[in-house]
């Protein structure tokens, strides 16, 4: 998909703009059918993307509780968020920890496991299945199970850490450990990233490695000079997808802690959700302002990653 983006951009630049009235009758007919086929999506994008996108921006300047019509308050919410909402910064910080930690875990561990499975290992299918299974489990069930895995008194994790002489950690009672607990839980989904990386690795032609071997490259050099450069498009896309996803972490936090202890696990979307759906009266306007700030943050991250990608993402020859 990373390349799909790239090729879409270049296609745009290459093709001269076609105007409707310049089209031959046959091409007009073709265009009509094309538009007919994509009509559902055009309606959908207007209703479910453009409308809410614009509306939430407008709502962010109003007081709105669903029952009464929105009341214009100007930039009041933004002012309040930046000057008088300590939970805004706190939730942003918690979310940043989750984004940094979980993305690093998924990329690094996912890549490492994919490399291991790409060494002509036996029972490849079995290992891949075992690593992948947890990520198909519905998140509600996962949350319930992990509440117990992370139980301070009798949980699996403390039992496991006991073998290394680590005394019981009160995961969700200790603000210093609560976010770490969610990071450990996020290993559950490493299998998805691993599967993607593995497919990428399997696509690297054997000749590249043979050539590197003839040139006397050892394993680490082959990894650094052949494997990683060829995998950068996949790494790039997965960093991007996972960052966008991690910024919006919500369900497991909502079910497992609700932000406790002392807001140590209050994530950004949880904060936003509470304002819109938990507090009475609902503060939909305030929540919309929070949503737009999140959008700006995610947009900024995406923009930085996309623009810097030209420097480190390596595309082989021509693509398609």
């Amino acid at each position: 998909m990373a390349t799909a983006f790239g090729s879409q951009f270049s296609a745009l630049r290459r093709r001269r703009r076609e105007r409707w009235r310049d089209l031959s009758p046959m091409r007009k007919r073709e265009a009509k059918f094309g538009l007919l086929f994509i009509a559902p999506w055009i309606v959908g994008v207007l209703l479910f993307a453009l409308f809410p996108f614009v509306a939430s921006f407008v709502l962010s300047f109003t007081k709105y509780n669903i029952v009464a019509p929105p009341k214009w308050v100007g930039a009041e919410h933004y002012e309040h968020i930046f000057t008088d909402d300590p939970l805004f910064l706190k939730s942003l910080k918690n979310t940043a920890v989750y984004v940094g930690g979980s993305v690093a875990i998924r990329i690094v561990l996912g890549f490492a496991l994919a490399l291991l499975l790409n060494t002509k290992v036996r029972f490849l299918g079995l290992w891949r299945t075992l690593f992948y299974v947890p990520s198909v489990v519905p998140i509600v069930a996962l949350s319930i199970v992990w509440l117990y895995v992370l139980n301070a008194r009798a949980g699996l994790l403390n039992w496991f850490l006991g073998f290394f002489g680590i005394s019981r950690i009160r995961w969700f009672a200790d603000p210093d450990f609560a976010m770490l607990a969610f990071l450990i839980m996020s290993t559950t989904w490493v299998g998805v990233t691993m599967v993607i990386f593995l497919a990428g690795l399997q696509g690297i032609p054997e000749e590249y490695y043979d050539a590197a071997k003839i040139d006397g490259a050892n394993m680490l050099q082959r990894l650094r000079r052949v494997t990683i450069p060829l995998m950068t498009p996949t790494i790039y896309l997965n960093v991007l997808i996972n960052i966008i996803g991690a910024f919006q972490v919500f369900t497991q936090v909502f079910i497992m802690t609700g932000g406790a202890p002392r807001d140590a696990t209050r994530t950004y979307v949880l904060h936003l959700f509470d304002h819109a759906f938990q507090y009475l009266p609902p503060q939909m306007g305030y929540s919309s302002a929070l949503a737009w700030i999140l959008f700006m943050i995610i947009f900024a991250f995406t923009a930085v990653i996309v623009t810097t990608s030209q420097r480190w993402v390596f595309y082989q020859g021509s693509e398609d």
Partner: protein, 295 residues
Amino acid sequence: MASTSAAQTEHLRSDSLARVTRFVGRVLLYGVLVFMSLWFIAPLFWMFMSSFMPLEQVGVFPVEWIPRVWQPENYTDALKFWKFGTTFRNTMIITIFSLVGDIGSCTLVAYGFARFRFPFRDTLFLILLATLMLPFAVRLIPVYAAYDAIGWIDTFYPLIVPNFFGNAFYIFICRQFFLGIPQDLLDAAKIDGASEMRIFTQVMIPLAKPAIVVIAILSFQNSWNDFLGPLIYLKDPDLHTLAIGLYKFTSLPGQGGIYNQQMAASVMMVLPVLIVFFLFQKQFIQGANLSGMKG
């Protein structure tokens, strides 16, 4: 002569050294693989085992893995508080209608993007890809307010209807697939006088089966696992889905500590997904790949 044999023994020694390092490497490799498998599977295995345990065994430390007494009544006890039948039915309704909507709309739209030329096509496709990056939090409130205004809260519509208007990611998958189908096939059908709609339903759809299966699985997973949607749109307990039913069950007053029943309830929700996963493993993996690979 002496130097050759020295070189030979040198060679032999490094050869056996290489063999030893190789062996150690393999042992380490499989050791890590086994450890990681246990790491991933242990929570699920424990969920399953503890769902049959007597309550007092669940809280035992050090952890016990095999039920001292097998207690299948944990399941029937859980069902006393949790209307599994109702939530299962509701989830099925939402899942099936969403599936139909997703497959119908996404194949149509993907075909439009893949096989026709029209002005602004590439710009529109770029917009489609860009919507993948729009955070759900931004859409949440206006969409909720709109559903509220038209009286769709406490109906399944908010969870089903949007799927009839195409999902950017599924469209992307399907379009890639359509692009790979040779043009000759379509031309042949056209020469035979088939209409555009007929070409779509009788030539393209049968050929696109692999892509459709992947979309079906992603759509099924999406509806079955969805939590936030049902949480805000379905307040009436008779409309709850499995995900919400399970969540409400564990947060019932007095349910806080009854872990064995909670695990039994979780197993009941997870099992259908696992069955589907093992039946369609290849397509699950394909779906994951398509979401993370270059197109």
